[in-house]
């Protein structure tokens, strides 16, 4: 249809038509026409909403939405309803990643499978590097994490030749699409990034400051717009982003850089998120006062560099105590599924259980102003949840059922095919080559 129209239609008309069709879809089609009905009986629901924790309830999914949550028996459920015994199990909103390279990087050491980073030796775009175009929902890494309950995630570029990495996006893993492009802009003022521009963290903070200052006099319409150290394309990206008040996610570890970033956010009225934030606990009051959230790896407790001398296992617990909002990330994108274990360890080291769950479900929704129905289980809203075999923060539990927009996610992946092929090595002849 698009091809047919593009032959003779002005672009504006095409856009208007697309907008209309989107509206039509919303009006006339239920959330998901093919979604099945699911009844989960006698379970515990952590709603992450005003309803709080609901025990011994039955939960009905219809037409892609949570139709009912009730202590009473749900009479007359739809025909063909899939009934799942939820006794002893725990239902939570699905996991939502606040940072990853999912669908961008397949095998870290194979350059042709890595799209999240530009060659550090080749100066190219920085603010304007936009990873949405490389998102590959068919990546094996996507499925492996989806079946373990990670249904959505922020995907982010990594810094190449500059401290600024570029634009990230918000990916829906079950639908295999980018739901929101340009969701946040990423950069890094830690020593690792600073070495790309000469090696001083002072230069990193300074460069970021100067770029923001130059926005004041920058005009994309001028022939010589005065872009300072960046290209016109980069500054357009930064300007658009800042004008729209979208999150700027900057990696920093030392309390020194975190404090500098707090000042930067104040001076330029930025929507700032600090990632890494190893020593955030040392400046937690200032972070709370400025309402700057952080994204942390709660297992980071080793003084692995001179930027991590204050690394400790109770960073999350101390941030919670000071009222700093945070999400939990897993450094290894292949194992985003370990978000649960990361949160569990934070809880073992003093974080409250509910904040631990929040940090891997609802937190990303709040940090990035995502679709508000995500990260919570509310009647009438789209059904995005996981039924776990027990405490989701525990290492001995697993995802019994993953539901996205009312659809049950197929639990089979390349990894399940692999172990099934080899689980019986005593067969003769050994014909595993033909089994899938």
């Amino acid at each position: 249809m698009t091809n047919y129209l593009s032959l003779f239609s002005p672009p504006v008309f095409v856009q208007a038509l697309r907008l209309c069709s989107v509206i039509l879809v919303i009006i006339i089609v239920p959330l998901n026409a093919h979604a099945e009905s699911i009844l989960i009986t006698n379970t515990t629901v952590h709603s992450q909403s005003k309803a709080g924790v609901m025990r011994d309830v039955n939960l009905l999914v219809e037409d892609g939405r949570i139709a009912r949550i009730s202590r009473d028996t749900i009479d007359n459920p739809p025909k063909d309803v899939r009934i799942v015994d939820g006794a002893g199990k725990v239902l939570t909103p699905s996991l939502i990643g606040a940072y990853s390279q999912l669908g961008l990087d397949e095998i870290d050491l194979e350059a042709t499978t890595v799209d999240s980073i530009l060659n550090p030796l080749i100066p190219a775009v920085s603010f304007a590097f936009d990873v949405q175009y490389a998102f590959n929902a068919k990546s094996v890494v996507v499925d492996v994490n989806l079946v373990e309950g990670v249904t959505h995630t922020i995907i982010a570029p990594r810094p190449g030749s500059d401290i600024m990495a570029g634009l990230g996006a918000f990916a829906n893993l079950a639908k295999g699409q980018i739901d929101t492009p340009n969701i946040a802009m990423f950069g890094d003022v830690s020593a690792n990034a600073a070495k790309k521009i000469g090696g001083s963290r002072a230069a990193a903070i300074g460069k970021l400051r100067f770029a923001l200052e130059s926005l004041e006099s920058f005009s994309a319409r001028r022939h010589h717009p005065g872009t300072g150290e960046y290209s016109k394309r980069d500054l357009i990206a930064l300007q658009t982003h800042v004008d729209n008040d979208l999150p700027l996610v900057i990696t920093a570890h030392r309390a020194v850089e975190i404090s500098q970033l707090i000042m930067l956010a104040k001076d330029f009225d930025l929507n700032l998120v600090i990632r890494g934030a190893t020593e955030a606990w040392q400046v937690s009051e200032a972070l709370a006062a400025a309402d700057i959230p952080v994204i942390i790896d709660p297992l980071s407790n080793i003084p692995i560099s001179f930027e991590h001398l204050g690394a400790r296992l109770d960073n999350a617990a101390l941030l919670e105590r000071s009222g700093v909002r945070f999400a939990i990330e897993v450094a290894d994108t292949h194992n985003m599924r370990l978000m649960r274990q990361h949160a569990g360890n934070a809880v073992a080291n003093g974080l409250s259980w509910s904040t631990g769950l929040h940090a891997i479900t609802r937190a990303a929704v709040e940090l990035f102003a995502l679709d508000d129905s995500l990260g919570r289980v509310v009647v009438g809203e789209p059904a995005n949840f996981v039924l776990w075999t027990g405490d989701p923060l525990e290492v001995t539990t697993w995802a019994h059922l993953v539901v996205v927009a009312g659809n049950v996610v197929d639990p089979n992946t390349r990894q399940t095919q692999l172990y099934n092929r080899y689980k019986r090595l005593d067969r003769a002849p050994f014909q595993y080559g033909y089994e899938r």
């Binding site: 397949e106 095998i107 870290d108 050491l109 194979e110 094996v140 890494v141 492996v144 040392q282 297992l299 980071s300 407790n301 080793i302 003084p303 692995i304 560099s305 001179f306 991590h308 001398l309 204050g310 690394a311 400790r312 296992l313 109770d314 290894d332 292949h334 194992n335 599924r337 370990l338 274990q341 569990g344 360890n345 809880v347 073992a348 923060l393 525990e394 290492v395 001995t396 539990t397 697993w398 990894q415 692999l418 172990y419 080899y422 689980k423 090595l425 005593d426």
Partner: protein
């Protein structure tokens, strides 16, 4: 004695010694362990829930330790002289053992000055010893202790076909690595299959640049070692036959051929394991353990037959193509096939919670319907690891006569919430979560704001 004569005399002595004793590969004699277990009080653990390390689980039992050893187990032990530790139902396990660590060699902070784990300058550096890079003040040791680690093997990195000798350490604070060396434990030889050696040397335009180059590299080295060994033996039988020039690389390889050094082979893929087994067969040595063995689940029947352990992660995969087929069920499938399964870390983060890694591996097995008990899963991080290091006569289980390397956990260690409350090495209390004064603090960690971070 005049100063000038001193070196002369020393040299003469050295020559006399070397004539009397042919080149030795015995690790125990060189850079010898100076570890002395401290004198300890007798202690009686009561009301503890035990995972024995041998696959046994027992509730509310008692364990008596005397002179650093487990002396008695049962229910009504009478030991008036012993200090009583009331478990109150808490869990007691053997000290956790990690067969694959680089702590000390890649210490924290990980900066250029401390990067001492990979002598990536030649494909065969069997002459180097990991212990000579160990920095005893690495603050990672005490973090691992807080996770119940009492024994660990530090291995050289995997850039080379032959990376060098590994060393088994007790996780005790010491000024020297000699003070940490596990007395009598054999050294390891780190070998590496696959992508790392061929990438490191191939990118320098050097051999090996392919997997076939890797195998040729192993075989050439073993062929030389066989020859070196023959010459040394010939000299032993007939002193008129010349000793070969002393060669530290060959000494290590001959140490393997004579069973004094254990082969720890970094190898991901099943087909490469098969090739390594054939190399070992050709030159008459035994492979002890395949490390990072992400494809052992494809080959577990053969590994059981060959009596080779697999040291594995619970769920790492995908960073290289040779890890692309990693599955969470690996450990459980290897165990289920009757092969020796070990959960290892290769990480200063992972080593702090090997109990959780074992728990995840167990859960993956249970999820696919394998009947594996919790007590058996604990073997993966205790007794099987001890077997891999050939220290299973001394440690790795709660059995009478074994070293009192023990951990008291605040709850079932196969839980994310479990924390080690007390850690004993040879009966000495090295870590007490409730007492900041009863835990080691490395020199490096002194004055850091996180001192006492376990509170």
């Amino acid at each position: 004695m005049p100063n000038l004569l001193r070196p002369l005399l020393a040299n003469t002595l050295a020559i006399l010694v070397s004539l009397a004793c042919p080149p030795s590969t015995l690790a125990g004699e060189l850079f010898a362990s100076t570890y002395q277990p401290p004198e300890t009080d007798a202690r009686l653990f009561v009301d503890v829930h035990i995972y024995s390390g041998t696959g046994v689980e027992e509730q509310s039992t008692q364990v008596l330790i005397v002179d650093g050893k487990i002396q008695q187990m049962g229910t009504n032990i009478i030991a008036p002289a012993a200090q009583v530790i009331d478990g109150g139902g808490r869990w007691l396990t053997p000290g956790i053992i990690d067969v694959h660590s680089h702590m000390g060699d890649y210490p924290a902070p990980a900066i250029a000055a401390t990067r001492d784990g990979n002598e990536a300058t030649a494909p065969n550096t069997a002459r180097v010893w990991a212990e000579h890079s160990v920095w005893p003040q690495d603050p990672q040791f005490e973090l691992a202790l807080a996770g119940g680690i009492t024994t660990l093997q530090v291995l050289p990195g995997s850039a080379n076909l032959f990376g060098g000798r590994g060393v088994t350490l007790k996780n005790v604070a010491s000024r020297t690595v000699q003070g940490m060396k596990y007395p009598g434990a054999k050294q390891g030889l780190k070998m590496a299959c696959g992508e790392n050696p061929k990438r490191v040397y191939g990118s320098k335009g050097q051999a090996p640049s392919t997997r076939m180059g890797n195998v040729a590299g192993y075989r050439e080295a073993w062929a030389k070692a066989t020859d070196y060994q023959r010459k040394v033996k010939a000299h032993e039988q007939d002193a008129t036959k010349p000793l070969p020039d002393r060669d530290l690389t060959m000494e290590t390889l001959v140490g393997v051929l004579e069973g004094e050094i254990i082969v720890h082979n970094h190898c991901y893929r099943a087909d490469e394991m098969a090739n390594m087994i054939d190399v070992a067969r050709e030159f008459g040595y035994q492979i002890g353990t395949f490390h990072h063995a992400v494809e052992s689940y494809k080959f577990a029947d053969q590994l059981a037959q060959e009596n080779i352990c697999s040291a594995m992660w619970a769920d790492w995969w995908g960073s290289k193509l040779e890890l692309f087929d990693g599955v969470q069920q690996n450990v459980a499938l290897v165990h289920n096939a009757g092969a020796c399964a070990i959960v290892h870390s290769d990480s200063a983060y992972g080593i702090q919670r090997l109990n959780q890694e074992a728990a995840k591996a167990l859960a993956a097995g249970q999820r696919m319907g394998l009947d594996i008990t919790k007590a058996e899963a604990i073997r993966w991080i205790t007794m099987n690891a001890a077997k891999s290091l050939q220290i299973d006569q001394q440690t790795g289980s709660i059995e009478i006569g074994k070293a009192a390397d023990l951990v008291v956990w605040n709850q079932d260690p196969l839980s994310v919430y479990a924390l080690a409350d007390l850690v004993f090495i040879d009966g000495h209390l090295y870590f007490d979560r409730s007492d900041p004064n009863l835990r080691p603090v490395s020199d490096f960690a002194l004055g850091l704001s996180v001192e006492g971070q376990h509170d």
